[in-house]
């Protein structure tokens, strides 16, 4: 993630704004889609899955990088409790959790670090209703703590509830931007299927 900032530098931008863009990318963290391919480490415990990104804070020194196991356990216990992950214990295998709880555990992994910008790829895809509500609450909490949250979703009803600003994509292009109370389900859908054009929206 960090080094990919270089790739987004554009020649056309002035130096200062390029530097700002790079800094933004450094401050942001991508939370991948919940799927076996992108986020979970199957066969490993909930503890190992959750603590992965926080390990840098749990080491004794920067050279040998020994892990403080007690600190790791208490951090994971706290994150798991706060995120309401239903598991028999932090040593349970991540595969033994339901899809929604796996997703919550994985979000807990990213909460261990305090990023300024969170980019989430479909955080509620393939998650049951109860877990969805908890994920919404979590996104709200992150935003309240002062971080910016940017997420993608295919479920229209999520946007009016959660978002200040909604960008609607159709066939890979942004076809409209809705803010505040304009971001209603009907208008988002209208833009998405092409019933409403941006001009009308604006």
């Amino acid at each position: 993630m960090r080094r990919s900032a270089e790739r987004y530098k554009s020649r056309a931008q002035p130096r200062a704004s390029r530097r700002r863009a790079a800094q933004l990318l450094r401050d942001s963290r991508l939370v991948p889609k919940n799927s076996a391919q992108e986020a979970a480490f199957p066969g490993f415990s909930v503890r190992e899955n959750v603590s992965l990104l926080s390990l840098a804070r749990l080491i004794t020194d920067p050279v040998l990088r020994f892990l403080r196991r007690c600190a790791e356990r208490s951090l994971v216990s706290e994150l798991v409790q706060r995120r309401n992950v239903k598991t028999v214990g932090i040593e349970a295998k991540i595969d033994s959790l339901s899809g929604g709880n796996q997703q919550k555990a994985i979000l807990a992994r990213w909460l261990g670090i305090n990023a300024k910008i969170y980019l989430l790829n479909s955080p509620t895809a393939a998650v049951d209703i109860g877990a969805k509500a908890e994920i919404y609450r979590l996104l709200q909490e992150i935003a309240d703590s002062g971080a910016a949250v940017l997420f993608t979703s295919t479920e229209v009803e999520e946007f009016p509830r959660l978002c200040h600003r909604v960008l609607v994509f159709r066939t890979g292009k942004v076809v409209g931007e809705l803010t505040g109370s304009d971001a209603t389900e009907a208008r988002i859908l209208g833009l998405a299927v092409g019933m409403e054009t941006e001009k009308q929206a604006a």
Binding site: R2, Q37, F41, F44
Partner: protein, 322 residues
Amino acid sequence: MQTSPTDFLGWFSRYGTIIFLLLLVVGFSFARPDVFATKLNLLNVLNQASILLIISSVLTVCLVMGLFDLSIAAMATLGGYLVCKHMVDQGDNPHLWLTLIGVLLFSGAVGVLNGAIVSYLGVSAFIETLAMGSIITGAILGYSHSRTILGGIPDSFLVLGQQSTLGIPNPVIIMALVVFVLWLMLEHTQTGRNLYAIGGNQEAARLSGIPVKRYALLALGISAACAALGGMVAAANLGAGRPQGVGETYLLNAFAAVFIGASSLRPGQFHILGTLIGVLMSGAISNGLSIMGVETYWQYIVQGVLLIVAMFGAGMVVMRRR
């Protein structure tokens, strides 16, 4: 816990190898109490297993990350030969430690080159290390003109493979150090956790910000250096710098030991403790069977059967988990 056939299999594969190892030791001890269960013989088993264990442990580090390293055999030969060669070339007052460290650094660098080719040129590790093994083998044969170094190897080096300290053979001490350090690294450091993460799900590890490519350099570098160390112990033990075939004898046994290890305690995961069990088992079998006067060919057959049984047990556990 309900008992079902698969639960029993799970339990069996988790602890089966350890129980089998204990049964072997107890069995051989009862069969030949005068020979097998003596301090001398047990130290002998450890001594014979030490080089295999060093090589198996570094293989474990690579496999944890999901990389096959087949160049360790040639790397061991390289380490042993280079040290002998340079010690002899230095004449009367050879710098033992400088030579050892120099050769370790050189082999480590070759390992890092392995990692760079795997990571940045995208060649699969299995093929790349096979090719590098061939290159190294060829290079040593050319460098040595296929001549084994027999005379003039200073005692200060031979001590590493032939003497004992406080009653424990030096190869066993070196092996214990290597195993302990690698165990610490894999189980108790962020580096080890990241290696496991990469082996568990490379894409997720990358998306979590772990520099996956650089870890390949690290794993293959460590692996090459430690394999060279194993080769040095073998050369010191042998008292000769052979330019060919030192590491090769250990390669397949090392794979067998590591996979038997991966089927015990934590089925489906490679780990140092399991590797230790796998190596001790193979050591106990070959030592015990030869003490019992069983023909050598049985050792190979028994080890092969054992490997299949162990892998079958572990496979059942992993399938049940899905």
